[in-house]
Structure formats: C-alpha cells, structure tokens
Amino acid sequence: MFGLNKKDFNLFLIVIALTMLAPFILNPFPAGSGMAQFNAGYPDLMQRFVIFGIFAIGFNILFGLTGYLSFGHAAFLGVGSYGAIWMMKLVTLNVIPAIIMGVIVSGVFALAIGFISLRRSGIYFSILTLAFAQMSYALAYSVLTPITGGETGLQIKPTDRPIFSNLEEGEIGRANLFGLDMRSSYELEVGNWAFTFNTGYYIAAIVMILAFYLSIRIFRSPFGTMLRAVKSNQTRMNYTGLNARPYTLAAFVISGMYAGLAGGLLVAMDTQVGPERMFWTASGEVVLMTILGGASTLIGPVLGAGLIKYMENILSKINKDILHQWFAFLPDGIEDFLVTIVYPFIGKGWHLTLGIIFMAVVIFLPGGLVEGGKRFMDFVKRKKSKTPPSDESAQSTPAE
C-alpha cells in the first residue's frame, strides 16, 4: 500500500493512529485527579511532539543513514523559523507560504553549509557544522539584531501589515490556514475527561505524517541504500563508480529542509522566534533525541523527541505542593520523607532525571527505545509460547 511493504505500512498506520488519536492517548487521566499532572494532551505540547518529531526524523536521514553526525542542525531550524516569520510579517499570515519559505531558506542554507562541511568526514565534519551553527547563533543574537530581533527575537506586531491581509487598525495578525485560526480548538468532554482537538496540532500532525511517510520512502529507496552504503564503506562506494559527495550533500540538504519544515511549523503554531533556537544545546538535543529513540530506525527519533519534550514540559512543572498533594494520604512523616526523596528529581531538578534517563537507556538498552520495545515484544512472545529462551534475543543486541 502506498508503495510501502507490509511491515512499513503497519508502522505507518500505527503512526497515523497515534498522531490522530493523540488528544485521547496523551490525556489518560481524568482532569482534576492527582495524575492529571502527567497528561500531555494539550495543544502546545502535542504540537511540539510532532514538530520535534519532524526535526528528529530529518536529522536521522542524515545521521542514521549516512553516519555523518551534524552538530549544528539547530541552525537550520532557526533559519527556517526566521524565514517563516518574515514571510508572515511581510507577505501573508497564511501558514503555508511561511512554512514553504522556511523550508526553502533552510534548504539553501544547508546547501551552502553542507557543501563546505562535507569536504571533511568524522569528527572534523561535526565540528565544522557546530562552528557554522554557533556562528549563526552568535550573530543572530548580536550584530544581526535588525534582521533577527536579537535577544528578544521576532514576533508579529500590531504594526505588521502583511501584503495579503486585511487586518483592522491595531489588530495583531494571527497565523491561519485560509482563515482557519491555528489556535482554535474543540473541547470534548467525556465524564471527567476533557480532550482538546486543536487546529494547529492537526495541521502539524498531518505534516508530520507526510514527513514520516517521505522518510520511509527515502529509507526504502535506492537513494536510501546508497546513503547506507556511504556509512558502511566509502572506499567501495568510490570504486563502484559512485560519487559519495552528492549523495551526502543531498541527504544533508534534505535533512536541513526537514529542520526548516520544523522551524516553519514552530512559527506557524506560535508566531515567535528567538535565537536560542540555534544554540549548540538545541543541536545537541536533536542528536540526543535520535540516539535515545534509536538512530537509523524509522520511528526511534520520533519516540526520542517525544520523551525529551515530555520530560521538559511535564516534569519541570511539578512542584513541591503537588508532591505534597500526591502523598497527602500518607502519615505526615512518611509524606515529608517521600517528598524530600522525590523533590530533587522534579521541578527545577528535571535535568537530573533527564541525565539519569540518558545514562540508563544507553547502558541498559543499547540501540535506544526502539530496541527496548523490541526486547519487550520478544519477552511477551516468549511468555506466550512458553518456550525456553532462544539465543535470538541475545543476538538482537548489536555488538557494535
């Protein structure tokens, strides 16, 4: 179906189901209950899940397939965002031209940076990309302030009058899709549960599904095979009459355009850009997302992106009061004790939990979350069939 083999098609269906039903899946706890804290089904976070999913999928096309580790990918996200917001400020508030603009701008940017950086490989390549991204960040923050807004970034202001718009005097333009406001939502109430269906989220989700579909196609195409060949053995590649440079450059540009797409979508969902979006930690974040989920797997990067964004947005919001509420049913002494134990890991300590998860995943699940999922499935299967453990599962851990 759709040119996918059965396995990929099933995965694709699962991804469609997950994204379309996300408002339900991410809101498993009734509103008002103590566990509601863990609900992630509100528009902003759902949007971030899919947008950073796109970012990571794109990064994985470069890193997972060719093995080239770019440490400056956030620059393309940022540049795409700037391109998109200028489109909205000057031309139209419709999100489609803005997103297209983001993709084009970052594609051109990626072409230039990739052309230079891909003259080197391995760590030298990584440092070149890092250097370009850091330069972009530093300049955007300072001397390019007239274009980028500097520290305070760019927003749509009441004085912005895009060419194709009919705003009233003093009205602040809103991102829309042919009049459909990105921020409009339907609220569905079922018993104690409340589910939000947000226009912006669904647009971003559809874009992510398309981006995911495209990435499957790329993975399964001769081009994808060539990219894996680049990773595997460049010498053989050269002596098989293949020029590795345009392949890696194409992968780099595609992946830069994915980043630009994510950047454009970020602006479409939330019309604002700041230069921190290009800081090296943001580049590092997408690397971590991809590795955490499972590099060179199709779904891994999306899972990694989801986990990191979940931690950042949910864990950081838990504070001491909430802890006290959770443990309120316990005797005071035990309650205080538990709060003291848990407190360093939540709220302002969410970084600590993140660090521990990074370490735990890489130590216990080499290959990332996808590998963890596989092991779990193997475990379930083995339980079902009640056969003694075969060697197969042990081998499924890649040795290298």
């Binding site: 890193f63 093995g67 580790l69 230079i116 003259r119 080197r120 490989s121 391995g122 760590i123 030298y124 440092i127 070149l128 890092l130 250097a131 370009f132 850091q134 330069m135 530093a138 300049l139 923050y141 300072s142 001397v143 390019l144 090296w280 930690t281 590092g284 690397v287 971590l288 590795i291 955490l292 590099a295 360093p344 300590g349 970084h351 600590l352 993140l354 660090g355 521990i356 998860i357 990074f358 370490m359 995943v361 890489v362 130590i363 080499p366 290298e400």
Partner: protein, 373 residues
C-alpha cells in the same frame, strides 16, 4: 604529501602565519596593544590548552567522545569551593551590638580554624584556600577519573560514538545537577590569596610608561602553572615506561596487548591523569572567574573545537591550538578590530576553526584515521 604531514612543517606554517599576523596587527593597533593582547591570549589559552590536553588524552587517543570532560573541569573548581567552605566552617557567635535583617541580634560566623590556629593564622589559611585545594584536588580528581573509567567509560570503548555521546552527556548533566543541588546556581566567589591580588606592570618593568601593559598576577601564575602541568604531562608520556606503553597503545592497541601488557589498566590511569589535569585547571581557574555549576558546559564546546583544530590524537596539536585560539580570541576583542568587523569577537574561534579545518584536513597536527569515519 609526507612532508606536509610532519608536525614540524605545520609548526613552521603556523609560526610563519602568526608572525605575519603580528606584524599586521602591530601596524594596525600599535605595539602596546599587541603585547598586551598576546599576554592575555596566552593566559586565556592556558585554560583552553589544559582542558584540551586532558580531553585529547581521552577523546583523541582513547577514542571516547567524552562530553563529561567539561564536568571534570567544573568538579575541579568545586574542589576549591568545597575546601574553602570547609575551612570556613564556623560556629555562630551572637554580636549584640548589631542586628540582622529581621531586627534580631546579629549572629556572626567565626571559622573553627580561627579557634584552632588563632585568628591571624586562621585568616591566612582561609586566604590560601585555592592553592591549598590543589593538594586536595589531585587525589580527588584522579579518583573521580578512575571511577568514571572503570564504572562507565570502560564499557563504551567499543560502542558507537553516538552511545558514548549519550552516556557522557547524561553523566555531565547528572554531575552538574548534583553540584547545583548542593551549591546553588549562582557563582561562588573564590578569591586568590590576597598576596596575588592586583597586577604586574610589565610596561614599567621594561622602561615604558606605567599602566600601559599591566596584567594580573594570578593570571600570570595561571599561565606558568599551565606551562608546568603541560610540560609535566609531556615529560611523563615521553620519559617514563608507563608513558611509552601508553603512547604505543594509542598507536596500536592490539599489538601492545599481544605483548602481554595490560593496556587497559594503563588506560584507566590515563583517564585519571586526564581528569586530574582538567580538575587542576579548574581549581586554579576559580579566582579568575567565580565558579558555577554550568562552567563546564561553557567550556565543553570550546574544548572540543580546540582539540579538533589541534588535530585528533595529537597532544602538541591540542596545546598549540589552545594557545592559538586564545590569542586570536584576544585580538578579535580589540575595539580597533571590532570597528572594522563588528561581531568578529562573537565568531572568531569558529571562523578560525573552519578555515583551519578546510585548509588542513586533519587540523594542525592530526593523525590520519583517528575518528574520521
């Protein structure tokens, strides 16, 4: 092609370039400014060189992408903080003549060392906390390095670089969060002994007008200290049997193992050594800038750039690149330069890194085949 690969040629090229650069700069901004910024570049470069040296031992030679190296620098700095906190452990004495912010009688902290050694000696000991911390930091850092290697890094030598990045980044976050938990996020002042406050007037020494070329004593000490440490590490690797085995192991690990030498144990010790170098760099850095929990991350990216610009697997390359980038950064911050090229101070290091990597594929003195895949 053999020729251009030798360290000597690259040194010659660098030296030639630098001389030309200096002449140009002197023409532009005058000899005083150039002298001053060179001095500053050397002191700035000392920190870069020391951190890069330790990182190269781990990253350039053991092949482990150690994102926790910045954290080692930070832990070193907090060794100094910890010792000075320890020395100022105090009992509270109520001073009835003053009041605190709530209007209650003021509680004054009197350090125990004052009780033990008398007020004058106690104050001196506290004053010298940073140099004293060196003694404290060496065993702590070596231990930290060894525990880190045995407990974690050891299992990652053969894993992909991606896994190494994830695990060491995770470790770096955990380490800095632990420090933040105990010491807070704000910088903690850790001054140098008062004997070293103020600055040396170089200009006056060589007969120029006073105040033209002044430089803080502590930064000069830092430079000398860095030179000593770097020299010691080189001497250690060059002249001891241990060092020879390690160098051989860097070149060809399997052969050395075939010779029946336990290279793993030596690598562990080398990790300890690298940690100690980073840590000592951190201890001595505390008076220059008050340490805070994320100072390691601030240096992390820069130190990777320095190592790679120096060339993977080359210790002299790392040191050379450290000083080179330090000096260039200093020059780029001069207002005469900034008037012509606004914002150049923001990007100089990265710009130079790009130029060097494009003209010299393996950095200044890199070895072929180290982490090029």
């Amino acid at each position: 092609m053999f020729k251009s690969g030798t360290p000597l040629t690259s040194l010659a090229i660098t030296a030639g370039g630098l001389i030309g650069f200096f002449v140009l700069m002197i023409g532009l901004v005058g000899v005083n400014a150039v002298l001053l910024q060179t001095l500053d570049g050397l002191s700035k470069g000392s920190a870069y060189a020391m951190i890069a040296l330790g990182l190269t031992l781990i990253f350039g030679t053991l092949g482990v992408v150690n994102f926790a190296h910045g954290a080692l620098f930070m832990i070193g700095a907090f060794c100094a903080v910890t010792l000075s906190k320890f020395l100022t452990l105090s009992k509270e004495v109520v001073d009835e003549s003053k009041t605190d912010f709530l209007g209650n009688p003021l509680k004054v902290n009197v350090p125990y060392v004052n009780d033990l050694f008398g007020e004058a000696t106690g104050a001196t000991i506290i004053d010298w906390a940073v140099p004293l911390s060196l003694l404290f930091a060496i065993p702590v850092m070596i231990l930290v390095g060894i525990v880190m290697e045995r407990g974690l890094i050891k299992h990652f030598y053969k894993r992909p670089h991606a896994d190494q990045i994830l695990v060491t980044f995770g470790l770096a976050i955990v380490l800095q969060e632990i420090i933040k938990f105990y010491y807070g996020a704000n910088p903690i002042p850790t001054p140098a002994p008062s004997a070293f406050s103020g600055s040396l007037d170089f200009g006056a020494l060589i007969g120029m007008d006073p105040n033209l070329i002044i430089y803080p004593y502590w930064r000069i000490i830092y430079f000398v200290f860095a030179a000593l440490i770097i020299g010691a590490v080189f001497a250690f690797l060059q002249f001891t049997t241990f060092g020879m085995v390690v160098r051989a192991g860097m070149a060809d690990r399997e052969t050395v193992q075939l010779l029946g030498i336990n290279i793993d144990r030596r690598f562990t010790l080398m990790f300890g050594l690298a940690a100690a170098v980073a840590g000592l760099a951190g201890v001595m850095y505390t008076p220059i800038n008050s340490p805070n929990y994320h100072m390691g991350m601030d240096f992390l990216v820069l130190s990777f750039v320095v190592v790679v610009v120096g060339g993977m697997g080359s210790l002299p390359g790392a040191v050379l690149a450290g000083f080179l980038l330090g000096i260039l950064e200093s020059f780029a911050s001069m207002r005469e330069i900034l008037d012509v090229l606004p914002g150049i101070n923001q990007i100089i290091i990265y710009l130079v890194a790009i130029i060097i990597l494009l003209t010299r594929p393996r950095g200044l003195m890199g070895k072929k085949g180290v982490m090029e895949e």
